[in-house]
Every structure is written in C-alpha cells, then in structure tokens.
C-alpha cells in the first residue's frame, strides 16, 4: 500500500523531510509506523500522535491507498 506521510515540527527535523510517499506491507497505522521506524530509527525517540486525512486516529486504524497520514508531535499553539 502507498500513502502520503507528512512530518511536522520536531518530526520533520528528525526525518529531514516535510513529506514523502511510503510504500509498505500492512494495513494499519501501526504497520506504517513500524515501517518508517526501520528507515528512520530516530523517530522512535519522539512522542507523537497520528492523524489520517486530518483526523486523529489510534494505531489500529486501517489505511488505504493515497491516505494522507500526519505525524503530529506534542502541539504547542497559542
């Protein structure tokens, strides 16, 4: 499956990119995260939530092709 992944703030600094397409084996958010961690182990040191198509989701959320997945470090607006 292929999804678009967005990285913000500290996550972007760690990954070195704002967005990328990721092709991975699996069906759920947790499968995608595991895949990304293999290539970018530093992400493991960060706390983050995940949003799919602009909504916060849990790790067992199912993904489909072309979903927009965002890695959301602790927020600090205001």
């Amino acid at each position: 499956m292929k999804v678009k992944v967005l990285f913000f703030a500290k996550a972007r600094d760690v990954i070195g990119k704002r967005e990328m397409y990721v092709d991975f084996e699996g069906e759920k958010v947790e499968d995608l995260i595991r895949h990304i961690m293999v290539h970018f182990p530093k992400l493991g040191s960060l706390k983050f939530s995940v949003a799919v198509n602009r909504e916060f989701v849990m790790p067992d959320h199912p993904l489909k092709d072309e979903d927009e997945v965002a890695i959301i470090p602790p927020v600090s607006g205001g």
């Binding site: 913000f8 703030a9 500290k10 949003a51 959301i72 470090p73 927020v75 600090s76 607006g77």
Partner: protein, 135 residues
C-alpha cells in the same frame, strides 16, 4: 457565526471586536496571546509558529462549535498567526460574544485551553545560541 483563520495577518483588534459584537449580547471577551521574551530565564529573540494548516483550521472550528453549544456563545472569531512572532506581538486572538459575561469568560477560556491541547500548531523558541520546539 464562527470564523477561524490560521496564518492570518491582523490589521487591528477592532476588526475582531466588530466581527463578534452583537445586539443581543452584553459581553464581548477577547483573549490576546502575545509572545514573551523569556523562557526558563533565557532570552527569546522571537517565536516561529508552524501548523498543519488544513487540520488546524478544522480542529479549531470543531472546538468553536462545541464551545458555542456548551456556553451558548453567539459569535466566535479565532485567529492564529504563523511564522515569526516577535516579543510583545500577537500570536493568537480568541473573540467571543455572549449574553452575559460569565459564559463569555468561560467559553473563551475553554476554546483557548482546547487549542493548546489538541490543535496541530507548533511553536519554536529562537535564542541567540540555538532554538527549541516547545512541548
């Protein structure tokens, strides 16, 4: 009426006041967030905000709908700046109108608290000798 803008350029505070004031309301509450020049005793040169803009707007709109219902607010405007914000400058404005002041104060605080808790906006403090994302 609810208006949310993430990444705005504010012209004047009157703009927000004029937008939320209402004939049926006895109160307008404006919260104005400004940048501080100290963080843990260190001098902050400026703040740099970034957002997942589409989602941030949607999340703030949901918070406003919720607050409108919960506190019986009449009109709400939320503006959040992105990019560089110097000390003393405005980073966020929440304006609400309500029949009486109690709901206005509480509703405004509720909106601001929820924004800080769950809206995908990030603040970086820039110092003379480095920078750090606030968490």
């Amino acid at each position: 009426m609810i208006r949310v803008n993430v990444g705005y350029e504010l012209k004047s505070l009157d703009e927000v006041f004029n937008e939320v004031k209402d004939r049926e309301c006895g109160a307008v509450v404006l919260f104005i967030g400004t940048a501080r020049d100290l963080s843990d005793g260190k001098e902050v040169l400026y703040l740099e905000y970034e957002a997942y803009e589409e989602m941030a707007k949607k999340e703030i709109e949901m918070i406003c709908e919720d607050a409108k219902e919960r506190f019986g607010l009449r009109k709400i405007t939320v503006l959040h700046k992105l990019g560089r914000v110097d000390p003393e400058e405005i980073s966020v404005i929440v304006g609400v109108s309500s029949k009486h002041r109690k709901e206005g104060f509480e509703g405004c605080k509720y909106i601001m608290d929820r924004i800080k808790e769950r809206v995908p906006i990030w603040k970086k403090e820039v110092f003379k000798d480095g920078e750090r994302w606030v968490e």
